[in-house]
Symmetry: C2
Subunit: 192 residues, 2 copies
Amino acid sequence: MLAEMPGYGPKSAQRAAFHLLSGEHARLKTLIAALTEADRRLHRCPHCNTFCESDVCDVCADEGRDRTMLCVVESVADQLALDASLAWPGLYFVLAGRLAPIDDVGPEEIGLPRFIERVAEGVAKDGLREVVVATSYTPEGDATAYYLIDALKKRWPDLRVTRLARGLPSGLEIEYTDLSTIAGAVYSRREA
Amino acid sequence: MLAEMPGYGPKSAQRAAFHLLSGEHARLKTLIAALTEADRRLHRCPHCNTFCESDVCDVCADEGRDRTMLCVVESVADQLALDASLAWPGLYFVLAGRLAPIDDVGPEEIGLPRFIERVAEGVAKDGLREVVVATSYTPEGDATAYYLIDALKKRWPDLRVTRLARGLPSGLEIEYTDLSTIAGAVYSRREA
């Protein structure tokens, strides 16, 4: 089992197992207790599908959030990164990954039906007016974005559907930036 | 002299010198001839300050370019990268680097007066309506951008002044992107 953890192979898994078993600090018991506690306390937020301990996650429960804006992401890690940037005033919806037809991961597997329900709820109850499709600019992220955008536009032609800007990241020189990124930075340029 | 070339130190310069002198292909003579030729033929375009062989560079001479749009960059390398992206339909102006007060590189040193003249010419003759400040999102690139934007807005309050979008580069996962880049990608998001 340990060998299937991200970043582990057979060797590092064996090293981790021996580390846990070399018991001066009762490491194994502590880890078992922590995992059991996590299993007992954590579940998925019924609104946005992120991990939380309360009935509804802190973001969805926050009255200060703009309920007319929804950001759809591929993973809880992406949601945390976006929220840490303090740039997004609205709510989130966390998909179960991204489309990967080669691995038989289709719209059902990533939770598209639940996402469409969530948008329908938002439109009906909260006057939802914008959905940001926040997937990465990778081949699978792009494919997922196109699929989601198409699904949204077909159902709600008047909904504003956006994507995160492709552009220059902080710290990277233009000279060393790939051409598709530069083109994105030109197309999404902003008033200074 | 070789030791002062970018990417060279004393050791690699010595290696390069011996390489040039080990003469089966008359390397040294070929290099001297190439450099002499470059010195003789290349000069700065009087309009945009890039390197060129003709009186006016190919971009400035191109009648198909939109003369109402000007993109100001830090270096010829940045200009080439931007132009290779095929995203910019207008003209360019190449500064002599970026502001670096610590190294005594101020507005005069990077050619600000010449740039202001060029913008004034554009406004008067070509109906220039937008200047994109295309500096990198590095501390010095930012400082240079703020200085240029301020200089432009003071002189031409009605000119559209923009900056390249800060955003997600192609291929990078949101999860691994720094927060200022994510925030930029949210602020510059586009209609899908």
